[in-house]
Symmetry: C2
Subunit: 151 residues, 2 copies
Amino acid sequence: MSNSKKEKEDNFAPALAAAGRALIATMMAKLASCGFSDVTPAFSSLMPLLDATGARPTALAQRAGITKQAISQLVRELEVRGYVEQVPDSTDTRAKIVRLTKRGVALHAASAEVRLELQSVAIAKLGKSRVSRLRRDLLELAAALEEMRTR
Amino acid sequence: MSNSKKEKEDNFAPALAAAGRALIATMMAKLASCGFSDVTPAFSSLMPLLDATGARPTALAQRAGITKQAISQLVRELEVRGYVEQVPDSTDTRAKIVRLTKRGVALHAASAEVRLELQSVAIAKLGKSRVSRLRRDLLELAAALEEMRTR
DNA sequence: CTTCGTTCGTCAAGGTAGTTTACCAGATTG
DNA sequence: CAATCTGGTAAACTACCTTGACGAACGAAG
């Protein structure tokens, strides 16, 4: 029967994985070509959470969905590369504030630009309505999977 | 303006990441509940490529899109867990053939079943046509991103 | 003011998943 | 038969995340 074949061909999982890999690789390549060759994939998930005002590591960890130890490491990496600086929080001696440096702001802007560029490429290829439907369907799918997992 | 806000809301990247994470987590959870609690995420990308007939590590590496060294490690892991066995290739003394064991076949079947289950959940949530369109759009998107990256 | 539980961040160690580099052994071809 | 290509392995390293244990500081209760 063509049943087993059809099941496989219709499965969205490999497509999802392929798109994910392509997204990260392209993001990295584009940033590298903008002069930010020392960023790693993890940075791009942290960058959208940062700004020049600053935030606490623990808050970042919660928003990024990882442990504060992981954030600590990541922030250190970003610090030695000169993208962020850590200043003491004047309202709490224990706490730090992680803030983008000038270079960090530049990376932030470049990241945003790359995201827009990727979005434009997607729209050029699929059209605006299909892209926004894609996004909506992905979110619904993620929710359904999560609900299935935790149940 | 609402422009900057709209750009962010429309961006497909976070949705893609969320769906990817949810997919892997749900896959793992389902397999664990089927009695396969010792599988890791990496296995699920390798399982669809394996069968009881067997294949060479190098071929697996190409199909999985990773190096043969990585496959070598992965296969060793699968071997100590009793999912695959390596037998010498009778047509080439250098080569090995990686073959699913009985337990491996069971895991393979369970994986396929889980994939079908996830597919069903997706269809229940989004409908058949939206799921297949989602898959198609993801593949097109991946191709567009790849083309953009390598260009 | 002291004590106590909580929170902030760090250090240390380890696990997972891959990579690069270097290498050996068998196969293939000039 | 010698050169070279191919199959596979070993070791070291990178990246990213985890758990566990901890010291320091905050805040509330006594």
